[in-house]
Amino acid sequence: MSVDISVKIGGEAGQGIQTVGDILARVCLKCGLYLMAINDFESRIRGGHSFFQIRISDKPVNAPNHGINLLLALDKKSFDLHEKELVKGGISLMEGVDTPAKKNVIAIPFLELAKESGGKITSNIVAAGACLALLGAPFGVIREVITEGFASKGKDIVEKNLNAANAGYEAAGKISYKFAFKWKVSRPRGILIDGSRAIALGALAADCRFASFYPMSPATGIMAHLASAANEFPLVVEQAEDEISAVNMIIGASFAGARAMTATSGGGFCLMTEGLGLSGITETPIVIVNAQRPGPATGMATRTAQADLLFIINASQDEFPRFVFAPGSPAEAFETTSRAFHLSDKYQVPAIILVDQYLNDSLFIAEKALKAPGKVKRFIVSDNDLKKPAEYKRYALTNSGISPRAIPCNGRAIVMVSGNEHKEDGHSSESAQTRIEMVNKRNAKVVKMLFEINPPETYFPGSKILLAGWGSAKGAIREAVDMLRKDGIDAGCVNFNDLWPFPAAATEKAFLTCEKFYMVEQNSTVQLGRLIKEQTALSYSGAVLKYDGRPFYPVEIADGIKKYMR
């Protein structure tokens, strides 16, 4: 048996779609299934239309599927909008008392059942029960999940929700459904995690001590996770008056010795660009997460995009080294965030992590355990490390370009830092000679920074054609490759996590033997493709681009590539 089923739960914001999705996901997890789920919602709090789409499989899945097998429509609009996405044999489950006219539509009186069991408010739980029953999930696991999930709210609430789930389960239990499959209780395949949470955990694992931010979708979740964990850690999460303040606060905190980060989206990042440069010229480590959404300006606040790459790489006036990363999954986001802190600290440069709404708000299974290190290595010197602390120079010229970094008021070493061009001691300078030395010193770091950069990840590297992408599109691209190969096309792919300093040699190697390569990006001007052209001897042959604010479906990519094959 091979399971690959997508369930879409649609309704208004505020109808409890998330809860239904969460229950489904956790039941799957406890049954040893793989899954991934996307969240689609509008820039409003109540009403409108949103959905949660979960893909359940017995093999790893890392992208959403286009066709859906089960549509749980919590309102009429959801049915109207998504009915056409049902695959053959798929069915729609809706609120209703009468038997519907269409034969692939099943009506269940969720509300009535809820009233009878757990109360009006539990009608979404009734629906969850019904969904799971259709799919053939065992009620015992549902019971476990609900009991755990509502435990903090008290026994009574647990009971009500169990009743509601049961009512739904019973109501749908006898309906035969083409895509029902055999479930078994089994060890979870890993942990269930979205990008936001992964980044927050990565920051904790890197001993982040201070985070300052100004709320902005889709970055806020990261900070909410950090804030909720903060009380357990030597960590302060500060909401600033604006993004300018946020970035300057973290520079101040880092200068004073705390690892520090911020998270924002494009508009907020704009406001941080001057601060980014301050981090650059003062060589103060900071980590910035830029969670992309469609723009420019306010654009589409709750949608996804990959269109800030060239901006991020070139942001702020003049030039200075920086790291830019774009993880392809929550597990990578965890790793990358920790690494960003480490490398930013080690090289005294800003590190920027590019994620997006899709990655931040989607649930994935991380199979490999996320591990916190036993110790966190810092790169700060104190008097004991210095021959003559009283003569300490913050910007001492060195071969590597890295000067020993002391923190203020921590001994006899006096730390002087300036956002003006400065001498070795940190005082401002008008000298041409000093200017050249300092530019060269900062640029010199790139040599070693490049050694830290991971090559792009390859999948069927020897293939005739290669697809290339970055960040969150990885899962969809890899699945598209599988599809193309199934159709007899010798395709592979190359996915970039580490983007700057650009791994030019590794990139040339990755594309060495292919005949052609095609970019797959969520923007309209092929940003990574252009970067590869700038940085290597290579040119892409075409591109599959999507910029409607929704994540890639693998089939869209495969179809896009096939067009080039003709």
């Binding site: 030597p234 600033a240 300018i244 705390a258 916190a372 001994g411 300036s418 401002s428």
Partner: protein, 284 residues
Amino acid sequence: MVSIKDYDSDIENTWCPGCGNFGILAAMKDALAAQGIPPEKILIISGIGQAAKTPHYLKCNLFHALHGRALPLATGAKIANHELTILVNSGDGDCYGEGGNHFMHAVRRNIDLTVLVHDNKVYGLTKGQASPTSDEGMITKIQSDGVLSETFNPLSVALALGAGFVARGFSGKAEHLSKIIQEGIKHKGFSLVDILQPCVSFNNINTFDWYRKRVYALSEEGYIPNDFNKAMDLSKMWGDKIPIGILYQKEKPSYTDKIKKLKESTLISGEYSQKKVQNAIHSL
């Protein structure tokens, strides 16, 4: 014991001869010495402008940051290590123009910084444009028909924002100013010291002479700075008599006092715990 000389810096001073900033520099050294804070134990953060060059001219830990952004940077540093004694040197443009939003919210946080605003009522470093505190009607190369906006009153605004330490100094009275700065340092919370600072190059209205004729020390009149309404009235006094000194003072918990975990230790001296992170990872 620390002496004033300990703060001497061998950096060439680039202010104009006769500039009001010199009095502020002298007062700062005096205040630090009087408070017995050695150079290696003081951190001075500044924005950009003539005022913001100050930390280079005395020996201290320093961060000469961006125009308008000294306050958030100092806030981050203070939260990271609340044992730091932090002074901020800012200008009227830096603090009330470019940095106006941070000013408002730093006051609201009551973050424990002593903020010295060198208020020359003009943009000095960029050669004489009007600043928020320029007199209405003042003529400059840009404001050729005179300044049209109402003059920004930092003291009234700070009071309205709930500031717990609102003072005005005059760079022509360095001794008096030193006392205010010392009180500001001792005050646990946001301390605003707006300093009347003549700019001899670009402001020929608010000169040393002009001020000397007008300023009077509130302390000499036995004024007790604990009444909001009186302070508000005084803050609006500008004309033949201009009060200097502490207009208003009220002790209340500072921002870092209010963050519970900082009671135990500074953020930077906290302990990393693998176990706790691992717990967080698994608390799903």
